[in-house]
Symmetry: C2
Subunit: 127 residues, 2 copies
Amino acid sequence: MSYDDSCPVCRTAEIVCGKWTLLIIRDLAEGRSRFCELERSLKGISPRTLSLRLRALEEEGIVERQTFPEVPPRVEYALTEKGLALVPLIEDMRSYGRRWLGADGECTPASGEAELVVPAPPAAAAA
Amino acid sequence: MSYDDSCPVCRTAEIVCGKWTLLIIRDLAEGRSRFCELERSLKGISPRTLSLRLRALEEEGIVERQTFPEVPPRVEYALTEKGLALVPLIEDMRSYGRRWLGADGECTPASGEAELVVPAPPAAAAA
DNA sequence: TCCCGGTACTTCAGTTCGTGAAGTCTTGCG
DNA sequence: CGCAAGACTTCACGAACTGAAGTACCGGGA
């Protein structure tokens, strides 16, 4: 891919810059998820791309895959520690999008967001 | 591109996920730069891609382009405020790369890094 | 005089990446 | 039987990215 391997920004860019990759991680940051849930949440992704991304992310050790031997087979994906470490990146993107791109949708169930980021807003800021 | 427009993460992903885009911003975060400097620093980028990215980034209001009517014509690119707001993202990527991908190179002239983060080195450093 | 080098690109042909639609495999249900 | 669910593959096509080459400009050296 011709990026410079010794540069940490390049290395991260390589992982992160496939189309949909960051969005998959954003979804998984909310909790473990199944293939078809991701497919539904990432409206517009092709199953081929989702499959490819998930596989690559698994190889990188960013997501973990767990198969259940049920009868429509069930597979769940979750972030590893290495994957969780990307969440601050996502949060930066979220605030950037809100501040500079005028995007204010939730796009994720809003459940995890508070947990993940805000430790405890100092009540003073509001006043 | 089929991303969800109301989602801030998606919107940012759209901007940021072209190959090289983040690296261009990383370079520009070190200070204004010319086309051929970027070309040299981003070893392996094709001039076409660089040109395309720079143009797109300009349209987005992330970089500013300034032309000097000199005799080999000179063009300089710099981050706007909207572009500078992406620097924390780059810094997250840098620490992620260092911590989780074992990449410890500098990849940028090392000059800017300190400038950007440290407000003013105590005069003792020079002596 | 003619060619060279530097800068900022554009054009071209070819490869890789991502897409939508459709197909695969398994078993439970009506 | 035939469809449904779930997790994918396969296929053919278009978009993105690539390397090599070309364009336009002019000053300077052989």
